[in-house]
């Protein structure tokens, strides 16, 4: 890529980001002036904040495009390559007659799915935003890191299970429905305060960073595993990544509640 190409790409990314933000800004300011009819407090600071968000998001997206996505795609391709999978297991296998692979041969894929799901979720801007807000609102009872780590763990488990599903070719709706049942059961016993936040965590994990990387992994797997159809099997990792954080956040709240009640019970004896 030449320097001119880079400048062009920076320009066009900033332009598209502006385009995306424009309707939001129009709605906000339209309602502020036409319906609320009061000047915004600290309008200068708010506008500067908008500008920072725009610049930050543009740089972030360019960086993703230049560094993380190409790497993610390349690694998904290399890891799901049957030749790589077979030769890791047995160096004597001739590479052009790949032996029958069973689901356990894909262990590097599961590990990669787990780690990349975890790592991308930690860096997810939407999740950081929600975690800051939850920490503030709960008066510090919900730690920013506690929430981010438990969501990341949920996404990691979800994506590796999703990869396993693609490899074995099970129908997706059984997994999703079983997940719903677990969520409903957990809702009955989890601390009331955490429930809405847990439900929200499912929605915030799947955005800017995670979706493209995870989609590349799913499609790569569905294309290389024999007997899988990319259209039917390649999708669905995102659905897993939205479902499992709900469970892990509720579990986090249940565990921390259990620890704090136990902590209180001991000194009172």
């Amino acid at each position: 890529m030449t320097f001119i190409d880079m400048l062009n790409q920076i320009g066009s990314t900033i332009a598209t980001t502006f385009q995306d933000v424009l309707p939001i800004a129009a709605i906000l300011f339209g309602f502020q002036f036409a319906v609320i009819r009061k000047p915004l407090p600290n309008i200068g600071r708010v506008l500067m904040g908008f500008l920072w968000v725009l610049v930050g998001l543009s740089l972030f997206l360019i960086g993703l495009e230049w560094a993380l996505f190409p790497l993610g795609r390349l690694m998904a391709q290399q890891l799901t390559d049957p030749v790589f999978l077979a030769s890791v297991n047995n160096a004597e296998v001739v590479t052009d007659t790949v032996r029958e692979l069973v689901w356990t041969d894909y262990y590097w894929v599961y590990l990669f799915a787990f780690l990349i799901g975890f790592a991308t979720t930690i860096a997810e801007p939407s999740l950081i935003a929600v975690a800051i807000k939850a920490n503030e609102v709960s008066g510090g009872a919900i730690g920013i890191w506690g929430l981010r780590l438990s969501v990341a763990l949920g996404v990691a488990i979800g994506i590796s299970l999703g990869c396993y599903r693609i490899v074995v070719g099970d129908p997706i709706h059984w997994y999703i429905m079983a997940g719903y049942v677990v969520v409903v059961l957990q809702t009955l016993v989890a601390p009331k305060l955490i429930i809405p936040l847990a439900y929200d965590s499912g929605g915030v994990t799947t955005s800017t960073v995670t979706v493209p990387l995870v989609a590349a992994l799913g499609l790569g797997l569905a294309e290389t595993v024999p007997g899988r159809n990319p259209i039917i099997d390649g999708f669905g990792l995102i659905a897993f990544a939205s479902l499992f954080p709900i469970m892990s956040v509720m579990a986090y709240a249940q565990i921390s509640q259990w620890i704090s009640t136990r902590g209180k019970a001991i000194p009172s004896r």
Binding site: F60, A67, W108, P125
Partner: protein
């Protein structure tokens, strides 16, 4: 900046570990990669700064202003516009809709012409945007009334499961995924600030219990609407 470095370190470690230890091949375009990582770092730092200076305050101040004004009609209109407006312009959704139209056309579900594909993609985008608008509206009404969120979510899940049995199989994957792509990076902080702001300015509402949940509804409703769209169109 330090925070952003800590946030990104896991991704870089994972990639380096797999590239060097497992795959054992050199990294291509190291220069471009390094610039990209630097941009991601700066971008995340600026974004979070702007979030705290701009998006959070405006979301909350509008929520307070609407609560003081006391007009539920305007508040619901605002909630709907915010959901609809931000979703219809969402690039991820535009991409998914176009891809879905291509898949549907190649599978002979719709006519294999550009016009039919455009119609289908447009219909998908509109049903998702409409569903997010309605979801944020319902969510705001829920905060005002103080209804428990779990009834909406569990009710929605039950509806999704029932519809999965009747919807054409080709639409199910897209419907499940469209729930995830609707909530963008700018919408999430704004909607969160709106919900928390509303819940904290209405008497008797707890910001923790009532303030969150808008995003959950905005992720659930598109599944229902897209399956309904598929049942009507296919």
């Amino acid at each position: 900046m330090l925070g952003s470095i800590r946030d990104l370190a896991p991704i870089i470690l994972v990639i380096l570990f797999f590239q060097l230890v497992v795959i054992q091949q050199p990294l291509p375009n190291v220069g471009q990669l390094l610039i990209g990582v630097l941009f991601v770092l700066l971008g995340l730092t600026f974004f979070i700064h702007g979030l705290e200076q701009g998006l959070f305050p405006i979301g909350e101040s509008m929520a307070h202003a609407f609560a003081r004004k006391g007009s539920i009609g305007w508040l619901l209109t605002f909630a709907f516009c915010l959901g609809f407006g931000t979703t219809v312009a969402e690039p991820a959704l535009i991409a998914v809709a176009a891809e879905a139209a291509r898949v549907a056309a190649s599978g002979d579900l719709i006519g294999n012409t550009q016009a039919a594909m455009n119609d289908y993609a447009q219909g998908l985008r509109m049903s998702v945007a409409l569903s997010v608008g309605i979801a944020i509206g319902i969510g705001v009404l829920r905060i005002i009334k103080g209804w428990p969120l779990q009834w909406f979510i569990i009710g929605g899940y039950v509806l999704v499961v029932i519809m999965t049995m009747f919807a054409p199989p080709e639409i199910i994957g897209i419907a499940y995924d469209s729930g995830g792509v609707t909530t963008s990076t700018i919408t999430v902080p704004l909607v969160t600030a709106l919900g928390v702001g509303l819940a904290s300015s209405i008497k008797g509402r707890n910001p923790m219990i009532d303030g969150f949940g808008l995003i959950a509804l905005a992720s659930l409703n598109p599944m229902i609407f897209v399956m309904a769209y598929g049942m009507v169109m296919l």
